[in-house]
């Protein structure tokens, strides 16, 4: 069940109305039932066992860790829980990376019945809820949070439907206390959330899906294109991916907000980052911070010799790439970002003359603009690996995307960007909105306008969305991860 469908709207309406109608003590049960329904409808019903086993093991190990005084006593339970959760993730997602076709394997073992099998895909949201589960376990192990004693709340934490498909990757310390909270219907909160949802929907169905038409056409057959189409498709993909994922995050946060919950932010205008480090502080924040807290820091972080910090960074980016998908394109994408990051670290350390806390100094506006463009170009080049169907396709894109001459560029202007014009306008619109957003949250500023100005803006926005939406009902890109 996709968030951009009427089916989801009907589902959420039922959940929200019932949620505010029933006593507080039953709400967790409603949300849990809704989350499991969402999981079953959205994926393969039998995978509900996977999330149930994962939750049960997490609950049991969490409780047992809570009984132990020392870390050494908790250690075995942490190891068991991590092994089970990562085992599921590895089994469903990464076996094919090693050339093992899981479906035929299961069919061979007579686990799959019938010739069409299960149409095996990874269980819905497994990459996301596994990280969420691991963060809970590690936090309990470290003693940062107490284990959740109510199985229902823990199950809800693992499967909470707004975050299930593609995050944000929540933390136990952030979400679990909220799940115990009592929230009344709040007009301002709910109307703000509806606007946030609408904006997310706009980003997805008007911008991302529109750009996706061009991107899919070019990247679907990269060998048929040379020069500008590849360059433009890469630019459009950068914006498509942002709008798709940020749109999803807005929608998911809005759903939770209506019910009273505040989910983690995932984006902070990432394409206005002045360097790669800043980009990663602004892009998919919940994943980046998870990797920092549960991988980079345990690996030693930037403590110890400089080379060790570099290795740690590289490991984190490789894992990040691998997390996105069981494909060498993602691994290379992660490695490339790791190299960007290392180059940036080395540069700033060289410039600052010290290792600790080396940060780039802010320059003037012109210099900052240059840095933003340069960072965007680096990130955009890396997106080629992210989007291409195979490593060889990606290298073909790299080989051919710059093979155009001045005549191609001048033709572009004489034909007024025929074929690209519409998409470039869409991209321009997003960057203008981003620039306006730099001065403060647009939705809040809009909300301060009087109703006779505000509503016409809403109607223009609504009709633009209704008329110009690409009605393919396409799924969110990050759902595949």
């Amino acid at each position: 069940m996709l968030l951009n469908t009427l089916k989801f709207a009907a589902f959420f309406l039922v959940i929200a109305v019932t949620y505010f109608a029933i006593p507080y003590r039953f709400r967790w049960a409603l949300l849990l039932a809704g989350s499991y329904y969402f999981f079953i409808v959205g994926g393969k019903p039998h995978y509900v066992l996977v999330i149930l086993v994962s939750t049960a093991v997490t609950y049991y190990c969490g409780m047992r860790m809570g009984e132990k005084e020392t870390r050494s006593g908790r250690g075995p339970f942490l190891a068991i829980a991590i092994a089970v959760n990562l085992g599921f993730l590895f089994f469903f997602k990464y076996l094919n990376l090693f050339g093992i076709d899981l479906e035929s394997l299961l069919a061979h073992a007579n686990i799959l019945e019938g010739s069409e099998g299960l149409g095996l895909i990874v269980p819905l949201g497994i990459s996301f809820y596994t990280l969420q589960t691991l963060s809970y376990l590690v936090d309990v192990y470290r003693g940062d949070i107490r284990p959740e004693r109510h199985f229902g709340y823990l199950a809800l934490y693992v499967s909470f439907f707004p975050t299930l498909l593609a995050g944000p990757i929540e933390r136990g310390s952030h979400l679990l206390p909220q799940l115990h909270g009592h929230y009344r219907f709040d007009y301002d909160r709910v109307t703000y959330a509806i606007k946030l949802f609408a904006w997310g929907m706009f980003l997805k169905i008007v911008i991302a899906d529109r750009l996706g038409l061009y991107v899919n056409q070019v990247y679907g057959d990269v060998h048929s294109y040379r020069g500008l189409p590849l360059l433009f498709a890469t630019l459009f993909f950068a914006v498509q991916l942002y709008c798709d994922f940020a749109g999803y995050t807005n929608m998911t946060r809005a759903c939770a907000m209506i019910l009273g919950y505040d989910l983690l932010e995932n984006f902070d205008k990432p394409y206005f980052a002045r360097n790669v480090r800043e980009f990663w502080r602004r892009w998919h924040i919940s994943l980046t911070s998870w990797l920092r807290d549960y991988l980079y820091v345990p690996l030693g972080g930037n403590r110890g010799p400089r080379w060790r910090a570099y290795v740690n960074v590289l490991i984190v980016f490789l894992v990040s790439g691998l997390w996105h998908g069981a494909s060498w394109t993602f691994v290379l994408w992660g490695a490339l970002h790791g190299l960007y990051y290392l180059a940036y670290m080395a540069f700033t350390q060289l410039a600052a003359g010290s290792k600790e806390g080396a940060e780039e100094r802010h320059g003037g506006k012109l210099l900052d603009t240059g840095k933003i463009i340069f960072t965007f170009c680096l990130v955009g080049l890396a997106w080629v690996l992210f989007r291409a169907s195979s490593v060889s396709d990606a290298f073909d894109v790299y080989r051919n995307m710059f093979s155009f001459g001045w005549s191609d560029l001048s033709n572009l202007f004489t034909t007024w960007f025929e074929g690209y014009g519409l998409y470039l306008l869409v991209v321009l619109f997003i960057f203008i909105v981003g620039l306006i957003g730099l001065r403060g949250p647009i939705i809040e500023r809009l909300g301060r306008l009087p109703i006779y100005l505000r509503w016409p803006v809403y109607y223009v926005f609504l009709f633009t969305m209704l008329i110009f939406a690409v009605a393919t009902g396409s799924q969110f890109i990050y759902m595949q991860f």
Partner: protein
């Protein structure tokens, strides 16, 4: 909560009113009317005595201009499968005069053609939504009730009229022979793909049978026709391609006694590239000539058209053509055209 419900209801009501107004304005634009060929179904006349179904051959197949005794209508949309031929026939059956001749264009391609999802949704504008396979209330609202929701960039016609209204896709002025050669190859490629897709799924003969039975039950006169093709088009099709097709048609003609007129290899057209918009479709001049020949062959009009074109004297239809004069007496078709010259 009350404030939220009140304001929400007001917002939704205003939105609905504005949307309806916008929709009303949109459906009146010439851009919408010429969008996908579906608007013509709002102007279907009563008392039709020649109904032309079929895909692009149905859409652009016949030109009834200047033939006073015929109330004809082309019911085809581009890429129309026989499934939708049948649904259109049922939906608009009430518009047909008793004894109406129902022309059902068939070809090697049409018998393989399934339901194209992009085409399927257009029929919400043409048919009752129950006739659409896998029909969906949301699609019905979007495509039938509020087409402004599917306007996308065509919404610009709200501001400025469309300039190239109803372009004739197959006018193709000044095309040289090379165009027809490559075009024929292109079409054959599509046919090959279709064959691969449909391997084992069989021909849609059952649907044709249903159409013929429907016509018979309602007093209409079905006629299977294959429109003329260029020789370039026919060049690619092998004996095997045709044998399956003709076997399927033979089944129908035998079982239902329905006439079949085959102009696919008609020498009056095959060499005459000036009569074609592409290798498969007649251009306006070809359409005019073909209509006159077809109506004469059906006994609806007399043979003056043949005399005018001067083509008819050169021959009969191709060898495989059963020929209307020999197999089917003109009395078969006379009912709807009493008084025709």
């Amino acid at each position: 909560m009350k404030k939220f419900i009140f304001r929400g209801a007001c917002f939704a009501a205003i939105a609905l009113i504005l949307l309806s107004v916008l929709n009303l304005l949109y459906v009146r634009t010439n851009g919408y009317k010429s969008l996908d060929g579906t608007y013509k179904f709002r102007t279907v006349p009563d008392g039709i005595n020649v109904m032309n179904l079929g895909s692009s051959h149905g859409e652009f197949g016949l030109d009834y201009g200047g033939i006073d005794t015929v109330t004809g209508f082309n019911f085809g949309l581009r890429g129309q499968s026989h499934y939708f031929d049948l649904q259109v026939l049922k939906e608009y059956g009430s518009k047909l005069a008793e004894g109406c001749v129902v022309l059902i264009p068939v070809s090697c391609v049409s018998l393989l053609q399934g339901i194209d999802p992009d085409q399927r949704i257009l029929y919400y504008r043409v048919l009752a939504h129950g006739s659409i396979p896998d029909h969906d209330a949301v699609e019905y609202i979007r495509f039938r009730l509020l087409p402004i929701l599917t306007a996308s960039f065509n919404a610009r016609y709200l501001i400025k009229d469309r300039e190239d209204v109803d372009p004739d896709l197959f006018a193709c002025p000044g095309a040289d022979e090379e165009f027809y050669i490559y075009n024929a190859l292109y079409y054959y490629g599509l046919f090959e793909d279709l064959k691969k897709e449909c391997a084992g799924s069989g021909y849609s003969v059952g649907i044709l049978g249903e159409m013929i039975a429907f016509c018979r039950d309602n007093g209409f006169k079905p006629v299977l026709i294959t429109t003329p093709f260029t020789n370039h088009y026919n060049y690619w099709y092998t004996a095997d391609d045709y044998s399956e097709f003709y076997a399927a048609i033979a089944c129908l003609t035998e079982e239902y006694g329905v006439p079949y007129l085959d102009y696919s290899h008609d020498p009056r057209f095959g060499e005459r590239l000036d009569l074609f918009g592409d290798s498969d479709h007649l251009n306006p001049a070809g359409r005019k000539m073909f209509t006159q020949i077809l109506l004469a062959d059906l006994g609806i009009t007399h043979d003056a058209a043949r005399d005018e074109t001067g083509a008819c004297s050169t021959g009969k239809p191709a060898a495989r053509n059963p020929g209307p004069e020999t197999d089917y007496p003109s009395s078969y078709l006379s009912g709807a055209f009493r008084g025709a010259t």
